[in-house]
């Protein structure tokens, strides 16, 4: 049960004046909205760019109560399982077919203990169906359960205009149809939805070509290749890059798709502590010095797998340090920008831009189009030889259907919007609005005394709830207040660190955020969620309205 922070892991301190200098600097970079500028500006000072990241530890009594909560839940689970076994309580779970009762059970009994006895109690907080675009406001379909969440029944009512704090709609580009989406409509009318072939066979459309060129241009790299699913981009391409005799060094909190890809590759996998460069360096040193276990041969190559922004922690990868290590030890770096592309960096070009680094410093830039771009799919970008190699060897290119043309068009549209190719600066404004919203939202939550994880610039904002009982209460109350939140618990997080995860969007207005913050304040008092023991500071001047004004 690794407590990923292990307390307050900060590369910088939480002092306000430092933050301020930081803010000024990043604004320097955005002045012209050009990446090159950012790079030149950044190169000289990226090392003094502070990473303000906090993982405050919970007070002891909270941890005690949390484990007690799980303990009580588990005890009751056993009791109810016992009663179900003896037929005292009705069992609602689906059962094996009569004809197959003598087969080896499909599930181990303990496998489902957690699902049956704990998850089932609070299941209504997940998979809530919606019936509108996942914009800043969405419509949730009301559903009720007559049997304690075993089944749901739709009432037919729709909870209108719920504030969406859950979707990864960072730039607000997932929205209802409007005139700016005309090109998607046109593409849909010409091409239809499917492709019905793979890239290698008959599925490379001119649209894909156009998209790939544009992605490469956006990221300022030599070439890019796109794939139909973000998850599969990782799991089907990592095996093409490394194999037996290679070493993968993977952050302990990497997304499942990275873990799966690493596993499918057949390479040896070693895990380093979350965002911990000492831990990574130790592994790198040992790997280079001692080579492979048993055979003692040198590793063929070493690949470091990290994410740009971690989706459950809200932390940003310590990229400059990792790049320095990678250079020192001649390892390769693969970075998954699923949550950072479009969302961080002065012009939305991801973590390399955030730190003012040349994107070519990273060997493999991977990202998805699901989040910021409001579409689906993923890309891999980098040097031309890398992309050429993947064109030939990627599992996805040979065996999986290529990307749907209207989806590709949505990405093209979003990219053009961000790059200002649509003749407006709205794209850039979105990125700035997101940064502004993020800092405002995080700052206010901190002031209220919540424990918030992650980097102050990360639009993924985890608010720690700890206790399993509070998870459900929190999510239900918030929905009553017409705010849609995402709560996550074990197994997506460590057992004792259940949390709510907000995704700030450029589409959120200040009023919406204030409504949410007000509700959170109330909820924090009601459910006693304000665990933080940091001194509550008065609002620093930075968050004065004026300091956020855009310099047009």
């Amino acid at each position: 049960m690794a407590n990923p922070g292990g307390g307050t892991v900060c590369n910088g301190k939480l002092h306000n004046h430092k933050k301020q200098s930081n803010g000024l600097q990043s604004r320097n970079c955005t002045k012209n909205g050009i990446v090159k500028e950012a790079q030149q500006n950044g190169r000289t000072h990226f090392y003094d760019k502070l990473i303000v990241e906090s993982f405050e530890e919970a007070p002891l009594h909270v941890m005690v109560f949390t484990y007690m909560g799980y303990g009580i839940g588990t005890l009751f689970g056993y009791l109810r399982d016992f009663m179900r076994n003896w037929g005292i309580e009705k069992c609602n779970a689906a059962v094996e077919r009569k004809e197959q009762r003598d087969f080896v059970p499909l599930y181990q009994d303990f496998e489902n203990f957690y699902t049956r006895n704990l998850y089932m109690r609070i299941r209504d907080n997940w998979n809530r169906p919606i019936c509108s675009a996942p914009g800043a406001l969405f419509d949730v379909m009301e559903r009720v359960s007559d049997d304690y969440n075993w089944t749901f029944r739709f009432t037919g009512r729709v909870i209108k205009d719920v504030i969406n704090m859950g979707s990864y709609n960072f730039l607000g580009l997932a929205a209802k149809y409007d005139e700016s989406m005309r090109t998607i409509k046109d593409v849909l009318e010409v091409y239809g939805t499917g492709v019905a072939s793979t890239r290698h066979e008959m599925g490379t459309l001119d649209k894909h070509k156009e998209l790939e060129d544009l992605v490469a241009k956006f990221l300022n790299v030599e070439a890019a290749m796109v794939f139909g699913m973000g998850f599969a981009t990782n799991s089907m391409n990592i095996p093409a890059l490394v194999g037996k005799g290679c070493l993968i060094l993977s952050d302990e909190l990497n997304h499942t798709s990275l873990v799966l890809g690493a596993r499918l590759s057949g390479a040896t996998i070693r895990i380093f502590k979350h965002n911990n460069t000492q831990s990574l360096e130790k592994l790198l040193r040992d790997a280079v010095i001692y080579g492979q276990p048993r055979t003692r041969r040198a590793w063929k190559k070493i690949l470091i797998l990290v994410e740009g922004v971690y989706s459950m922690e809200g932390s940003i990868v310590h990229l400059p340090q990792i790049i320095a290590l990678k250079k020192k030890y001649k390892a390769y770096l693969y970075i998954d920008e699923a949550h950072s592309i479009g969302a961080v960096g002065p012009t939305g070009r991801g973590v390399t831009e955030f730190f003012g680094l040349d994107p070519h410093e990273v060997d493999v830039l991977m990202g998805t189009f699901t989040k910021s771009f409001g579409a689906a799919g993923g890309y891999i970008a980098g040097r031309k030889d890398l992309v050429d190699y993947l064109r030939v060897h990627s599992h996805s290119a040979v065996y999986a259907s290529s990307m749907s043309p209207p989806i590709a068009e949505q990405i093209i549209r979003s990219l053009k919007h961000l790059m200002g190719m649509d003749g407006t600066t709205q794209g850039l404004q979105r990125v700035r609005q997101l940064a502004k919203n993020t800092r405002y939202f995080r700052q206010r939550l901190q002031e209220m005394g919540f424990i918030i994880y992650g980097n102050e610039n990360s639009p993924v904002v985890p608010l720690l709830l700890y206790m399993p009982g509070k998870v459900a209460a929190f999510a239900r109350h918030m929905l009553e207040k017409k705010i849609g939140v995402v709560v996550v618990g074990f197994p997506a997080t460590p057992l004792a660190e259940a949390r709510a995860r907000f995704c700030v969007s450029a589409a959120h207005t200040r009023e919406m955020l204030d409504t949410v913050l007000e509700a959170l304040d109330e909820m924090g008092d009601l459910l006693q969620l304000k665990y933080s023991r940091h001194k509550k500071s008065a609002r620093p001047e930075l968050y004065d309205e004026t300091s956020f004004e855009l310099e047009d």
């Binding site: 689906a94 059962v95 077919r97 080896v104 499909l106 998850y119 998979n127 169906p129 919606i130 019936c131 996942p134 997932a174 929205a175 209802k176 149809y177 989406m181 998607i184 009318e189 091409y191 239809g192 939805t193 499917g194 019905a196 290698h200 066979e201 008959m202 459309l205 001119d206 139909g228 699913m229 973000g230 599969a232 089907m236 095996p239 499942t256 798709s257 499918l264 280079v288 010095i289 590793w299 190559k301 690949l303 020192k328 001649k330 493999v364 699901t370 409001g374 579409a375 030889d385 890398l386 030939v392 060897h393 599992h395 040979v398 065996y399 999986a400 259907s401 209207p406 989806i407 995402v486």
Partner: protein
Amino acid sequence: MATATEQWVLVEMVQALYEAPAYHLILEGILILWIIRLLFSKTYKLQERSDLTVKEKEELIEEWQPEPLVPPVPKDHPALNYNIVSGPPSHKIVVNGKECINFASFNFLGLLDNPRVKAAALASLKKYGVGTCGPRGFYGTFDVHLDLEDRLAKFMKTEEAIIYSYGFATIASAIPAYSKRGDIVFVDRAACFAIQKGLQASRSDIKLFKHNDMADLERLLKEQEIEDQKNPRKARVTRRFIVVEGLYMNTGTICPLPELVKLKYKYKARIFLEESLSFGVLGEHGGGVTEHYGINIDDIDLISANMENALASIGGFCCGRSFVIDHQRLSGQGYCFSASLPPLLAAAAIEALNIMEENPGIFAVLKEKCRQIHKALQGISGLKVVGESLSPAFHLQLEESTGSREQDVRLLQEIVDQCMNRSIALTQARYLEKEEKCLPPPSIRVVVTVEQTAEELERAASTIKEVAQAVLL
């Protein structure tokens, strides 16, 4: 006498002990302990783990040269010069600027550019926009997804269906959701790549049986049964699965499902069936291989198919009994951890299902067309047809290999290119040669769709025949 002397010696020793100074005793005590330590410690120390000095370490780090991240790819590699399709890959397709009749895309029912499907997708675009911006668990579940799942379950006459946002990820996620380390999976040698990856992810024991050879499968099942009797404790928790395809992507053949079901009950192994090619193709109503053989669908534990072929959308689904399928909602990695299917694609799939339900005649038409071209392609000298006559995707392989795969591929590519010049778009079946478990021989894949007219089929067959004759003879 001897004993008296010994006794005296002993007494003297004890006396000496009393008289000895303390430091002496301590010294002797230490010596004794030292001897004991030497006795119990290893007689020699391996000097192998002599620690490296910092300087040596630095040198090692300095010296190490990794392989390049990717080996260079020759500039003229065929895969770098994909065919580029301009416009929709429907019946008439523009490949590299030349208009052809499409015999390469899996658009069996011609729904790819169906105006009704497009209209449904457009309506969805207007309502929901494009992306879902989240996995199913976190507000990525739209009413359209629930509708589509319902419709698929009804269409397949099963209790429940679950949709994935990518065809490949469907079976590749479904298998490891159930089969874990230590479980045993019996799988056909010709199984497609997605199945192979699913099996690899599951880390189960994999037993390959000869393609469609039920005797070979039974042999393996029997072997396992004997093994189980030796260790019944282990056998009680070892799940057994048989993984097969309805119509095999790599061979165009159909699986002998009735025999498989018999074996299933005899040896108590569950059947997972991949129906990407047979869904919406086989059976009177397009219900797939179970309908084709008239088998109760509940006898199959899990059916998976993609929605990228017959339905001409994107994504995939699994269906079966709730007892089985529901488990994937928390354990299917490609389901839980991936953004959900864009609603417009789900809406397109629903409309495609509507069309299939309204025109059940379409499946008979498709079958007739398959039969026609299958027959017309027989007897080309140098090329043999591989696959059933009811399969809308089948292969043309070289009758005799030249001995080198590379040469075979080149010959087939020549045929494909020349057909393309004569307006018949074909493609070779592509594989990752080093990754495939059992690499199928090189082949040209011919795909039949309902939109191809009898004349077009005839023309395609005669074109292929003429070109093959010219290239191969």
